[in-house]
Amino acid sequence: MSAWEIVVGLETHAQLATRSKMFSGASTAFGAPPNTQASAVDVALPGVLPVANKRAVECAIRFGLAVGGRDVINRRSIFARKNYFYPDLPKGYQISQYELPVVKGGEIPIVSPTRGPLKIRLTRAHLEEDAGKLLHEDFRGASGVDLNRAGTPLLEIVSEPEMRSAEEAVEYAKALHKLVVEEIGICDGNMQEGSFRFDANVSVRRPGAALGTRCEIKNLNSFRFLQHAIQFEVRRQIEVIEDGGKIVQETRLYDADRDETRSMRTKEEAHDYRYFPDPDLPPLEISEAWIGEIEAGMGESLESRRSRFVAYGLPQDQVNLLVATRDASTFALSTFSGAPREAVPTLSNWILGPLTAKLKEEKLDFSQSKVGSGVLRALLARVADGTISNTTAVGKVLPALWAGEGSVDDIIESKGLKQITDAGEIERTVDEVLAANARQVEDYRAGKEKAFNSLVGQVMKATRGKGNPARISELLRKKLGR
């Protein structure tokens, strides 16, 4: 097959993590019984008016700052009405932004599987409200409408058509997801609940040729569907063209069950949305001071944190895990700061090992951890000064700390976990063990290293785990003369 170039641009709808809706005071919580979270404004009763949610605007500003800095934020943007009739759209129009969006550019860095590191430019990002939902189960012969979602704030993020494969599109989508969820925390990123979803614009062309006619695939709510839908659509378009046909500009739906896209409506059937500035909402004025406040509250970027973790000398795979979420990186940094540098690898192991396991078990974030950064450092100090072993710390003290049984020292004390460092006591025990295990002693002397480990184990057992393993090994070797 001769070469075709794939061209993909994405429109991403990120639901903003605000408590109330874009233009009303109703709650945005997911999963409430139908129409219990729809206020008079959301139902579009006569006489109601929209009031823009300041928090949602701040989310958009945050996004702009993260993708392009102050330059890409329009100091004055306009809410516009997009007019069409549908039962899930109570006002008969959606309040969106058209000519002047809040964010007018920016870029998302990705690593393309084929082209390496590159930056995907953004066309714009604008604020809008979500529609409600139709319930197609039968209500006395009719469909139902649930307006709980109506008015939920969305940031629609539009990329330039700069992706050249389905895989690149997925990389972009994942990078964007991480940005809005972890980096700037403006979206919960829950794709199953529809908090993050894509429309993909796909076309194909011969390399160097002008852009081909595009088709828009609507409402893809997983990275896998995104990839499959683009792959199918690319194959379909190439087939049509190679068979001498022409691509018709249209909107298509992806059917995941059959893994194919189907035509929804062509350009001729497209709505004329009759956009015009919403007279109920004055222009959105964003002051320098407001941007400054938001910028100050944004904190350090995850990329900057990554380099700090690297500087601690942590291995790459650990660094990746630590910057995977803002939550983990914040916890790790606060734990590391104030700890001796040589303790950082152990602390990192603890955070990513036993602590992460505990958090997962109880479905908690690091910010909700029952063992805090300072406690973790205190625990490490007791390992460093030889009071307890690493094994005791992780296996016995940490669970007790998690269970709230007291401070590190209280637990060591009350459980009698202090290591025996008294040379005389250890020596006595070693002698006893050697005397009682003549076979292993012989085996060891005959060159069986396994036997040595067994002897160490016996001594540990005899000290009920409180003997310092290093001291024990040292003593044993001395006594066994090897």
């Binding site: 009763l45 006569p46 006489g47 008016l49 823009a52 009739f85 109570p90 009759r274 109920d280 909402l281």
Partner: protein
């Protein structure tokens, strides 16, 4: 009692000369007697009297305000919890408001009684009150004539003295034009002074609620209640509270009255022009000085208005789709058919006309030529006023080109109908405050309105000018036969 001013009624209530319940009964009885006017869409004596009893308790407890206990008629465009809010439309004929408009809340807090909901042109679209699903309102001065519109029910109720005062809304003249045609006073405040929350939207960037009453002094007291910031309306202005009655006694000496020659040109009925000229001369005798001004783009205001208002209306009225509330066609094949039939049956002809115009001017390929152009015109009109107010303090002219016309006279000619708002429309486009007060008699002795337009936030001054005029004249005291 029925033709007393608000101040007099307030005093009577304070002196226990009459109770709020008695006063409310008195006006309800007058409303009942004047049913032929068709001024009210809803009367609910039980509901009104319950409020009156509460008002009496407040008066007895000494916690009342200046208007506590006084019944006020509200245009049926304002939502008042428990009352129908029909907006003159079949679409909302059975719609009972589940919440109070800001204006209603304010009157409630002031201790006023809702006397009833007044008839109006459907969705405030009209200048004669013939576009109501509930039938035309009759002008109390002559039952064969229109009271003007769209706040025709409120105007007729005040003119006939069956309500002490009323509220209205003004998008292109809907307070001032009916006030002029029924011989009462009406104020359209600066855009943003009165909250639009709970006021059914016609054209959001132009709609403004305001009072309708027998005198400028009454208007001032009512504005004190209605005005004020409301966070639920993003276009509501945050300004310190003001007393709109504070300039009532200010003398007119030194006042510069701007007069625009074009307001007295072709299309103006001779008797109306003469009455307005006489009124301006009257103001001059009170110390004002007349200056000639120009408003060169005023002539473009009707075309601009009939692009912008329908554009906004076409979108504002999309919510009446039969899905959630309001009228729904009885039989339909599918969703699209339900929309079509519901809207075809639920809206009247003028509303449909404006939805069609609005949809057209916002359509792809026409937007720039119509909507954007109209917005430019709008800015030019506002600039003309800004220029004029450097030379004068207030602009005086006729409110309407003629007196009240016969029912049916313009019903089949929308352009003729639209022309009756030619003097009032530019004021809405600029967002300025303006009022109309009776200033004479025209053809067949029918009332003529004097239109006073001021700069932004000059309501108190406008009311003061009108009050001084009314201290020196008696046009505002003249009532139609049934009202005397």
């Amino acid at each position: 009692m029925h033709d007393r001013s608000l101040k007099q009624l307030s005093a009577a209530l304070a002196r226990r000369e009459i109770s709020s319940v008695e006063l409310t009964r008195l006006f309800l009885a007058r409303c009942e007697k004047a049913r032929a006017l068709n001024a009210f869409v809803s009367l609910d004596p039980e509901r009104s009297l319950a409020q009156a009893r509460a008002a009496d308790a407040r008066i007895a407890a000494g916690t009342g305000g200046p208007l506590t206990g006084i019944p006020i008629a509200h245009k049926d465009i304002f939502l008042a919890r428990g009352w129908r809010a029909t907006c003159g439309s079949r679409m909302l004929a059975d719609f009972v408001a589940p919440y109070d408009a800001h204006v209603i809340e304010r009157f409630d807090a002031a201790g006023c009684v809702v006397l009833g909901k007044t008839n109006m042109d459907e969705f405030a679209m009209g200048s004669s009150n013939e576009n109501s699903h509930f039938g035309p309102v009759k002008n109390p001065w002559d039952g064969a004539r229109v009271p003007g519109g769209s706040s025709g029910g409120s105007a007729a109720a005040v003119a006939a003295r069956i309500a002490p005062a009323a509220t209205g809304t003004d998008t292109g003249g809907s307070i001032r034009q009916p006030a002029a045609l029924t011989g009462i006073c009406g104020l359209k405040p600066t855009y943003g002074v009165v909250s639009r929350y709970g006021m059914v939207a016609y054209a959001s960037s132009l709609d403004q609620g305001g009072p309708m009453a027998k005198s400028a002094e009454d208007l001032a007291l009512l504005t004190n209640v209605m005005a004020g910031h409301d966070a639920r309306d993003s276009t509501s202005l945050e300004r310190p509270a003001e007393d709109y009655a504070r300039e009532l006694e200010r003398p007119l000496s030194g006042l510069r009255i701007g007069v625009c020659r074009e307001h007295f040109g072709a299309g103006l009925a001779g008797e109306v022009g003469a009455a307005v000229e006489a009124a301006i001369a009257g103001l001059e005798r009170l110390g004002a000085r007349r200056v000639e001004i120009e408003l060169p783009n005023n002539r473009l205001s009707l075309p601009a208005y009939y692009v912008i208002a329908p554009a906004e209306a076409s979108s504002n009225l999309s919510r009446y789709d039969g899905v959630r509330y309001g009228y729904r066609a009885k039989e339909y094949a599918d969703l699209l058919d339900m929309y079509r039939k519901t809207r075809a049956q639920g809206f009247g002809a003028e509303v449909k006309r404006r939805i069609l115009i609005g949809t057209y001017v916002l359509s792809h390929g026409y937007y720039d030529a119509y909507y954007l152009k109209a917005q430019k015109v709008r800015r030019l009109i506002a600039r003309d006023y800004a220029e004029a107010f450097r030379a004068c303090d207030v602009i005086a002219g006729p409110t309407t080109p003629g007196v009240a016309f016969a029912i049916g006279a313009k019903a089949s000619d929308p352009v003729q109908m639209y022309l009756s708002d030619i003097y009032t429309v530019p004021v809405n486009l600029a967002g300025l405050p303006a009022l109309s007060i009776p200033c004479g008699a025209g053809e067949a002795g029918l009332p003529v309105g004097l239109h006073l337009v001021g700069d932004y936030f000059s309501e108190a001054r406008l009311l003061g000018i009108a009050h001084r005029y009314q201290q020196a004249s008696d046009w505002h005291l003249r009532a139609p036969e049934g009202g005397r």
